[in-house]
Amino acid sequence: MIPENGGPAALRVSALRKTFGGTVALAGVDLEILAGEVHGLLGENGSGKSTLIKVLAGYHAPDSGELQVRGKQIPLPLAPGQFRDLGVEFVHQDLGLVPALTVTENLRIGSYAAGERRFWLSRSREHREAEELFARYNLTINPSVQVRLLPPVQRALLAIARAAEGLRNSPAVQESGGGLLILDEPTVFLPSDDVQRLYELIRTITSTGSSVLFVSHDLDEVLQITDRVTVLRDGNLVGSVDTAAVTADSLVQMIVGRQLQIATDPRGTAETKEVHCTIDNLSAETIDSVSFHVHRGEILGVTGLVGSGFDEVPYGLFGAGPATSGTLTIGDRAIDLAALEPVLAVAGGLALIPADRGRDGSVGSLSVADNIALPVLGSYFNGGVLRRRRMSKEISTLMSDYDVRPNNPSAQYSSLSGGNQQKAVLAKWLQTHPQLLLLHEPTQGVDIGARQQLFGAIRAAAADGTSVICASTDHEQLAELCDRVLIFAHGRMIHELTGQDIQKERITELSFGAVSTK
């Protein structure tokens, strides 16, 4: 399958290193993609996978490292878009298609942008060219239909075919005989039956001498389609292996890494506590009729792979997302989730800390005090005026309780560091003593010290009687913080981990769909 002596590797990266502030994202990673092969790239979130891709896209400048394309040394960093000149094309998860334009127009976007040489655009000619293109890749897509009307799999095929065509027309590829197509999780939202069509397309592309780098979370896909696979963990290269020589379980072990676990302290005996919140038949865009409960004072983790739907849980329970049905019962009050609005959720004792702090969690251009005081403004309105001095004083106290630095209520919120911003958001909601606290990636972009403080604040709230649901792909965080973890796949809850079983590796294994027990 792999062409022997097929000339130099399509791409070789050596000792690539990239740090963000103090965090090492890539600690000297090697990657070699042979000519004509499909190469898988695997790793958890935070393994350095996406940083590596972004270096190749010219988005990140690496600290050090070398890059060879088809045996030719290329100086780093790459300029954004320079990959095109090197005979490399990308298809990202979002596919980069314009839904309102037709298939043909989407195919032609690149050439419109590059400055069309012809003055007169002939529609029939463009359609004919599109049909010829699809014929080359054995695709049947109607060139005149709007992309938004295509089924998801055809959209993915279109995006990939467009990129492949970009390679075919690239001077660099024509010169060297083959390019590199990087597919960055293009299958996440596809039903598994449809993925087969994608594999065929990928094989058609490699048969022309080009290589494909296939980035995915899904082990089954990687096992089926790739010739070799490279696994990254914590910014390090774990290894590159022939796919035929590995099993799903051995890949999981490479991804997770087997370390001896020191038995952690026994978790809170949540089973003996009363059930505080019950969620019945929650359905949303991806999740389908999921039911579970949270004990009073329990920290419940929900997780899964991208596209499994776990991240719809906090928004669905808050009326902020697309919950189509379901009931949330807190104590003896039942809330219809399909009709829930955030206003009512807040009134009902819920609080949501969304993942996107900048867009959904806080207003960066306002002061810290304005952000924190938002849910309790009414309590400072007394005698016809907002008691700004009292507000400032009490918020300053609150800020020192949560160690928000600098302790200056009138500082602009966006001037705080990520960790302090998140502490402020937590303070904003915990001062309302919510019944149920919903968290989504609560420590994203937060340094280690602040992370521990955030955990401390969440635990303190739980000990105070607040029930917590934490949705996250940070398995280490879940293992450290949660009393119980639910694992989602394809819109359903497939595992529940309690007590000693809550370990990072175990969570990761189950998320990746490993079946073996221990």
Binding site: V343, L366, G378, P406, S415, G449
Partner: protein, 348 residues
């Protein structure tokens, strides 16, 4: 993330500066002061400049009284406008609403003999109604507020021509003109004080009530407001009703100043109101639409115009001044905004 270790408060900010930290905080107090009061300074310079050039006509009580009194209507209109601007919506109908209100007072009072008090109430109600319709389209159907209010403004312009049969209607009860322009306090017509009162009231609401804070949050971060449990749509709707009502009040002052309503004056007020609102957002509280800044901007603009007219400039100077001021003010406030809204990139 580049963040200082939170347990060491005195960490050097070398690392954090790349995430945009502390910009806007580290600026010197003098810079902040200069920015806040630059417009006030420019206004004073302008006044001194014209006083030197026209010492006999410009620095007189009569001219001062004229400058302060004549602008009450535009001032109130601007104050109404900054409410939806604060919540992040446009209201391009304010000038027409104020014209409609003026015309309603005239038609009801002069043509139909309705007592002036009731005519005023009806005019204010019409403003609230137009604002309510604007708000309904914007919040229920989610239509862009600029398009809705532009269309409504033109529609209202048609209603004005209809009810007035395209005539200027004069002879409004002098109870109104007495209360608005004839009676003076400290040599300045009462309408000036009405405008100041509206400005102070708005300042109170924006600065000293929870509602004011909520208006700003809705304008700055609609999602944040929604997820914090604010009734975002209701607040936006309310803001448009408020701007309609206050615009109608501006119309009452207009008809009270001249004793007459003409059917086409509305469009001429639109640009000055927008220019003053955006120019006002560059001072006192730079980056925010604020009532005090708006009032200063209104009087800055009229000082420039009346000074140039005293120097012999023609009517066109008004267009040059308001149009130019709008573009420059929007540019300035955009720059202030950008600096205010720099947020740390959580890049990875």
């Amino acid at each position: 993330m580049a963040t200082g270790n939170s347990t060491l408060p005195s960490q050097p900010k070398v690392e954090t500066s790349r995430s945009g930290l502390s910009r806007g905080q580290d600026r010197k107090p003098i810079t902040v002061f200069a920015e806040r009061y630059a417009l006030v300074g420019a206004w004073i310079v302008l006044a001194i400049f014209f006083s030197f050039l026209r010492p006999d006509t410009f620095p007189t009580i009569g001219n001062l009284s004229a400058i302060l009194g004549s602008q009450a209507s535009i001032a109130v209109l601007t104050l109404g406008l900054i409410i939806p601007l604060t919540t992040g919506d446009m209201d391009a109908s304010v000038a027409f609403v104020s014209n409609l209100s003026a015309m309603m007072v005239a038609v009801l009072n002069v043509n139909l003999g309705v007592p002036i008090g009731w005519a005023i109430l009806a005019a204010l109600a019409s403003g609230a109604l137009v604002g309510g319709i604007n708000g309904a389209f914007v919040t229920i159907f989610g239509i862009d507020s600029f398009i809705v209010t532009l269309g409504m403004g033109t529609f209202v312009g048609g209603v004005i021509l209809l009810i007035s049969q395209s005539n200027t209607i004069s002879g409004v009860s002098d109870v109104l003109t007495q209360a608005v322009v004839i009676t003076q306090f400290l040599g300045i017509p009462l309408e000036f004080y009405y405008a100041i009162a509206v400005g102070l009231f708005l300042w109170y609401v924006l600065e000293w009530t929870p509602l004011g804070r909520r208006l700003i949050v809705v304008g700055r971060g609609r999602n944040v407001a929604r997820l914090s449990g604010l009734r975002v749509q209701r607040i936006r709707w309310g803001a448009l009703i408020a701007s309609g009502t206050i615009s109608a009040l501006a119309g009452v002052l207009y008809v009270g100043t001249s004793g007459a309503a003409d059917p086409t004056s509305g469009s001429q007020l639109l640009l000055p109101a927008f220019a003053a609102a955006y120019l006002g957002a560059t001072c006192i509280k730079p980056g925010r639409f604020n009532p005090i800044g708006s009032l200063i901007a209104v009087y800055f603009l009229v000082t420039g115009i009346s000074g140039l007219q005293l120097l012999g400039a023609q009517g066109y100077v008004q267009n040059l001044f308001y149009g130019g001021a709008l573009v420059i003010a929007v540019t300035l406030s955009q720059l202030t905004r950008k600096r205010e809204e720099i947020s740390p990139g959580n890049s990875q």
